[in-house]
């Protein structure tokens, strides 16, 4: 059964345009000009109950606008959506009892108070019994490893600790669907891993569906079954994450620093040198031609490693490749 069904959903904003300078301001006062900005253009998709669906795209692609329509905050300019059997913008308050939301850039925890106070407040807001709230807090505190953080004022938590509390708070009322908008934004590698582990565990144990927006391809690889890539308000790609990885996330970059000067010969089939220095090198490699293990073995044999970073290509690059691929163009309808 579908948790979310979206048909030709669109959102157009009217944005005021004003020419530069005093003259422009004067003219705009009497003859304001508006331009239409199509934030979301007729997108359609389905999401199954309990599915982990990634919704990714660069800034301004329309991800958050879609999430806001799916939570009922924004009224669409056109199209239909069904979320857990409700029309979000007509039945927002009813739907709110069954969904959890985390907006990475907008904390919902009360900043000056310990996180446990917000948890207790959410218990009241979602009309839960006090005993149930206590049990639930205990369970979430263990699942998210936040037991020792709950009584510390939120302002004193690190960003990673705060995000774990944020996600845990959004699960207090046992939502059937969790909408996560950039939950890993600004987090370091370890904190990202913590959040991803906890989300995966909760999804598996409670069957909660997760719609995750991010512009970090790593979130997808670690969490999602399926991915939709949105660009300029349109879905340009939707498929299983494993297929996306196979087709487009094949190129990784690795940057290493050595304790001593090293020779510059790092040649391996499928590997390309991007930048070299006396104490380090930056390389790109194709995971279909050479494994990360082989690359690391080759690099560690060259000298004593001091630092190493492996990164995925930026999402913009992945999207550019998707556009370039003829087979995908058919899906996109270009």
């Amino acid at each position: 059964m579908s948790a979310i069904t979206v048909r030709r959903l669109s959102k157009t904003f009217q944005s005021k345009r004003k020419s530069a300078g005093l003259g422009g301001s004067w003219r705009s006062l009497f003859r304001p000009e508006y331009v239409s900005v199509e934030a979301v253009r007729e997108i359609s998709f389905e999401m199954e109950n309990g599915e982990l669906l990634g919704f990714i795209g660069p800034n301004g692609a329309g991800k958050s606008t879609t999430i806001k329509m799916l939570t009922g905050i924004l009224h669409p300019s056109g199209g239909e959506a069904d979320v857990l059997g409700y029309c979000p913008w007509r039945e927002r308050q009813k739907l709110a009892y069954y969904i959890g939301t985390v907006f990475g850039q907008r904390p919902q925890l009360w900043y000056h108070l310990p996180a446990i106070d917000t948890f207790t407040l959410f218990g009241k807001i979602y009309e839960l019994e006090d005993a149930e709230v206590k049990r639930r807090i205990q369970f979430l505190a263990e699942a998210f490893e936040i037991k020792d953080l709950l009584e510390t004022p939120v302002r004193k938590l690190s960003l990673g600790q705060r995000m774990r509390c944020e996600v845990a708070a959004s699960l207090l009322h046992r939502p059937r669907l969790l909408l996560l908008d950039e939950p890993s934004i600004g987090l370091d590698v370890v904190a990202k891993q913590h959040i991803r582990d906890a989300i995966r565990t909760m999804s598996r144990e409670e069957g909660v569906g997760v719609l995750l927006t991010s512009h970090d391809a790593g979130d997808l690889e670690a969490l999602c079954h399926r991915v939709m890539i949105v660009h300029h308000g349109q879905i340009v790609y939707q498929d299983k994450v494993s297929n996306l990885k196979r087709k487009f996330l094949t190129r990784k970059t690795v940057e290493v620093r050595y304790a001593e000067e090293v020779s510059q010969d790092f040649h391996l089939e499928g590997m390309e040198t991007l930048k070299t220095g006396r104490y380090g090198v930056k390389l790109a490699f194709n995971t279909q031609q050479v494994s990360a293990d082989e690359v690391l073995t080759r690099l560690s044999a060259a000298g004593t490693l001091v630092d190493i970073t492996i990164s995925d290509p930026p999402l913009e690059e992945v999207i550019a490749r998707i556009y370039e691929t003829a087979s995908v163009n058919e899906t996109v309808g270009l």
Binding site: F13, Q14, G60, K68, R92, F103, T118, I125, T213
Partner: protein
């Protein structure tokens, strides 16, 4: 209602996070009361009478204590709501199962109650020192519902102005006008009893008097009739404003254009 009570209590606890800041701001009432005392002492002395239009120096100063407590503690949600509409943070309140205006009412009333207590203790102590105890201790009891109604009215007007941000980019001009009207026609600086009859008639016909004059006057001269009349008048204005607010909110909600990321 439980959820709004919980929000109110949590915001009250939030106020205790920085008690010094709250107390510091409340100290303002002390110089205000001192200046009022000097002004009205001279006025009463110049008139050569102990009573002007039914008010003594003592009741005038205690009237001003309540008027100042109302003004200094009133819910200031105009900016909060207009900022929430403009920067899009309204979206993050709308996704929870409570009413946006109910949420802001609970939060702002917690701040109001906290500030009012401190302002009343400080302002009252100053007035007591200068002119003696309040004219009637019954006033303390009967003024409470009138104060709550007054702040509810203030909340409605402030929220109405804040919601205008759905259609206009800057609501500060409306805030300025509202504040000045509340000052003059509400009887914040001068009790309406001292106004010429024609101006008093106009002021009494407008909602601003129900926000300040009515509760402050009830405090210094409490009676069952005054209590019932005051509450009835406030209830009528509340009905008008709550109706207007719901209407404006419904229209604004569908006009919401929060840009996404």
């Amino acid at each position: 209602m439980k959820k709004y009570w919980a929000i109110f209590k949590l915001q009250l606890a939030n106020g205790f996070a920085y008690p010094g800041e709250f107390l510091g701001r409340s100290l303002m009432i002390l110089p205000f009361m001192w200046v009022f005392y000097q002004l009205w002492r001279v006025t009463f002395a110049a008139s050569g009478s102990e009573v002007i239009n039914g008010l003594t120096l003592r009741s005038t100063l205690w009237y001003l204590v309540i008027a100042e407590v109302i003004e200094l503690s009133r819910p200031r949600v105009g900016n909060t709501i207009s900022d929430a509409v403009k920067d899009g943070s309204i979206a993050y309140i709308l996704n929870k199962p409570y009413h946006f205006l109910g949420y802001h009412y609970s939060v702002s009333m917690a701040d109001t109650v906290f500030r009012a207590l401190i302002n009343f203790v400080l302002g009252g102590a100053m007035a007591w020192l200068l002119v003696g105890p309040p004219p009637s201790f019954w006033g303390l009891l009967v003024v409470l519902p009138a104060l709550l109604a007054s702040w509810a009215l203030h909340y409605c007007v402030a929220a109405l102005i804040g919601l205008l941000a759905f259609w206009v980019e800057d609501v500060s001009a409306f805030q300025w006008i509202y504040q000045k009207l509340a000052f003059i026609l509400g009887g914040l600086l001068i009790p309406l009893d001292f106004y010429p009859t024609w101006l008093r008639t106009i002021a009494n016909a407008l909602p601003f008097s129900s926000m300040t004059y009515v509760p402050a006057r009830l405090f210094v001269e409490p009676s069952l009739m005054a209590f019932l009349t005051s509450l009835a008048l406030q209830a009528i204005w509340l009905l008008v404003f709550v109706g207007g607010l719901s209407l404006l909110y419904r229209r604004g909600e569908s006009a919401l254009t929060v840009n996404g990321g």
